[in-house]
C-alpha cells in the first residue's frame, strides 16, 4: 500500500498534489483502487467546471460498484485526464501518476495545507482496515 509523503489526502481516499503554480492535481489513492478492484470507467468534470471541497465531482466505476469522486479542494477544473477514457485501468496500475484525474486552479491555495498528510492518512487507512 503506497502513500507518498509529498501528497495531501482526504478521508474519502482522494489525493491532491500541489503543483506550485496555484494548481493541484487530484486522484484516488492506492488503497482506493485496491478496494475498488479493476476500474472500468471514470467520469470526470469538464474543464471550466467549478468544484467545491467535499462535493461530488465525478465517479469511478469497477465491475463491482460505482464510487463517487469528491473534490478535496475548491477550484476550477483546468484539465481532466483524457487517457482514462481508453485506459481506465491506469487508476489501478499508477494511481499517483498516469491514473491522475483532474487538475484544479485552487480558489484558496491555503486550503491544501488543511488536508491530512501522509501520516494522518496512513492512520485513517489502518483504522479502515480494522473494520473491514
Amino acid at each position: 500500500m503506497t502513500i507518498p509523503n509529498d501528497l495531501r489526502y482526504t478521508s474519502d481516499h482522494e489525493w491532491a498534489r500541489d503543483e506550485g503554480d496555484g494548481t493541484c492535481t487530484i486522484g484516488v489513492t492506492d488503497f482506493a483502487q485496491d478496494s475498488l478492484g479493476p476500474i472500468v470507467y471514470v467520469e470526470l468534470p469538464a474543464p471550466g467546471t467549478v468544484v467545491k471541497a467535499g462535493e461530488r465531482c465525478g465517479a469511478v466505476e469497477s465491475t463491482k460498484s460505482v464510487s463517487d469522486l469528491y473534490s478535496p479542494l475548491t477550484g476550477e477544473v483546468v484539465a481532466a485526464n483524457g487517457a482514462l477514457d481508453g485506459q481506465p485501468d491506469l487508476v489501478n496500475s499508477e494511481p499517483y501518476a498516469g491514473g491522475w484525474m483532474v487538475r484544479l486552479r485552487m480558489t484558496d491555495p491555503g486550503e491544501l495545507a488543511g488536508l491530512p498528510d501522509a501520516d494522518a492518512y496512513a492512520l485513517h487507512v489502518a483504522a479502515a482496515h480494522e473494520v473491514r
Binding site: P38, V40, Y41, E43, T63, K64
Partner: protein
C-alpha cells in the same frame, strides 16, 4: 437477526473471502487477491467453485407428490423422468412470480425444489398455503449444503474428486455420487451458462468436499468464486435474478423465460389462467442492452427513447468477458427488438445503448 454461516464460512475466511450479509447469510462477495473479474474469467476459462449453501431446499414427497408439484410450478414437470430436472417459476394466482426455482425429480413421488435464499420462507408459506396435501412438503434447507462447480474444466475436476453417473450427462440431470462415505446429489445444472454441476451434500461433508475440490482443482486453474462474479456470470447469460428481473408483480413472459412457463399444460398450475391471458397482452419485456457510449449501467438507471423515460435497468455491469458495458432492462414491447436504439440515463447523462439478443456471451468461448 444474526446472519447465518454456511458450513464453509471458515474455508472462505482462509481463502481471503470478503464476507457480506446476503439474504440473512454471511457469504463471500469476492476473494482477496482474486476479485470479481478474475473469479469470473476463471469460471469461463477453467472452473469456478461456488458456495451456494444459502439456497433453500424444499422436498415434496409421498403419494400425490408428482401432481402436487405440477400444480405448484409453471413448467411441465410431468415430462420429467426420474433423475431429470427443470427450471420453473412459482406463480401467484395473478401471474406474478413468487420465486424462480429448480425442480429435481428424485423418484416417481419425490421432488427436490431448490429456491432462492432470500425467498425460502416466503416460498414455503406459499407452497403450504396452496398445496392440496401440505403434509407432503418439508423445508429441508438445514439438511443440505450446496457447492456449484462450473466451467469447461468442471467435469475433469469432479471426475477426480467424486466420480459417478452424472459425469458426461446432458444438462438437467441429477444422480447420486459418493464422497468419503456420504451420498451427494450431483446435478448437471447451474446458473453461469457454463457446463458444470451443482452438488447437494450433508452439511457435515461440505468442508471436506470443498477442500478436495480446491486441492484437486489447483492445476486446472480452479478458483473460488464469490457472489459478485456469480452475479456477473448470470447477467452475461441474461438469466433473471429474483428481486431484479423477477418479482411478485412480474411474470415469466415479461422476463423472457417463456420456455419454463406452460399455461396450457394438462391440469394447469397456480397462476396459469392469468398467465395465459398475459401472454397475449404483454406491455413490456426484458431486453439486453449494450452501451455504445462509455459508462456502466446499474440497477435503477432510467432507459430513454428519443429523450423520454420508457423503462429501467434491472441489472448492469461492465462485462468481464466481452469488456463492454451491458445491462438487462424492461422496455415497452415495441422497443424490444434487437437493434433498437435507446439510451441509459447514468447520473443525468444519456448514454447511447442498443438492444442486443441474449446471451451477451457464448459459453465455453472465453477469452482471457
Amino acid at each position: 437477526m444474526t446472519p447465518r454461516k454456511t458450513p464453509l464460512y471458515d474455508a472462505h475466511l482462509a481463502l481471503g473471502g470478503q464476507m457480506v450479509e446476503f439474504a440473512g447469510w454471511q457469504m463471500p462477495v469476492q476473494y482477496q487477491g482474486r476479485g470479481i473479474v478474475a473469479e469470473h474469467l476463471a469460471t469461463r476459462s477453467a472452473v469456478g467453485l461456488f458456495d451456494v449453501s444459502h439456497m433453500g431446499e424444499i422436498v415434496i414427497a409421498g403419494p400425490g407428490a408428482a401432481d402436487e408439484v405440477a400444480h405448484l410450478v409453471s413448467n411441465d414437470t410431468a415430462a420429467l423422468g426420474d433423475g431429470d430436472a427443470c427450471y420453473a417459476l412459482l406463480c401467484h394466482e395473478h401471474g406474478g412470480t413468487v420465486d424462480d426455482l429448480y425442480v429435481y425429480r428424485l423418484g416417481a413421488e419425490r421432488f427436490l425444489l431448490v429456491v432462492n435464499a432470500s425467498n425460502t420462507a416466503k416460498d414455503v408459506a406459499h407452497i403450504l398455503a396452496h398445496a392440496r396435501d401440505p403434509g407432503l412438503v418439508t423445508d429441508r434447507t438445514d439438511e443440505f449444503a450446496q457447492i456449484a462447480v462450473q466451467g469447461p474444466k468442471a467435469t475433469t475436476l469432479l471426475a477426480r474428486v467424486a466420480p459417478g453417473d452424472a459425469i458426461g450427462l446432458p444438462r438437467n440431470r441429477i444422480r447420486v455420487h459418493t464422497f468419503g462415505g456420504d451420498d451427494l446429489l450431483v446435478a448437471t445444472t447451474g446458473y453461469t451458462g457454463e457446463a458444470g454441476f451443482e452438488i447437494y451434500c450433508p452439511p457435515s461433508c461440505a468442508q471436506a468436499l470443498w477442500a478436495a475440490l480446491v486441492d484437486a482443482g489447483a492445476d486446472l486453474g480452479a478458483s473460488p468464486v464469490g457472489l459478485g462474479a456469480r452475479d456477473t456470470l448470470r447477467l452475461e447469460m441474461g438469466y433473471p435474478l429474483y428481486g431484479q428481473e423477477l418479482d411478485d408483480h412480474t411474470n415469466g413472459f415479461e422476463a423472457r423465460v417463456a420456455w419454463a412457463v406452460k399455461p396450457a399444460k394438462a391440469g394447469g398450475f397456480i397462476g396459469c389462467a392469468a398467465l395465459a391471458k398475459a401472454r397475449g397482452d404483454l406491455r413490456r419485456r426484458l431486453v439486453g442492452l449494450e452501451l455504445t457510449d462509455r459508462g456502466v449501467p446499474r440497477h435503477g438507471h432510467p432507459v430513454l427513447h428519443e429523450g423520454r423515460v420508457v423503462g429501467a435497468v434491472t441489472s448492469g455491469t461492465h462485462s468481464p468477458s466481452v469488456r463492454k458495458p451491458i445491462a438487462l432492462a424492461y422496455v415497452p414491447v415495441a422497443l424490444a427488438a434487437p437493434g433498437t436504439e435507446l439510451a441509459v440515463d447514468i447520473r443525468g447523462q444519456a448514454k447511447r445503448a442498443v438492444v442486443v439478443p441474449f446471451p451477451f456471451v457464448v459459453p465455453g468461448s472465453a477469452t482471457t
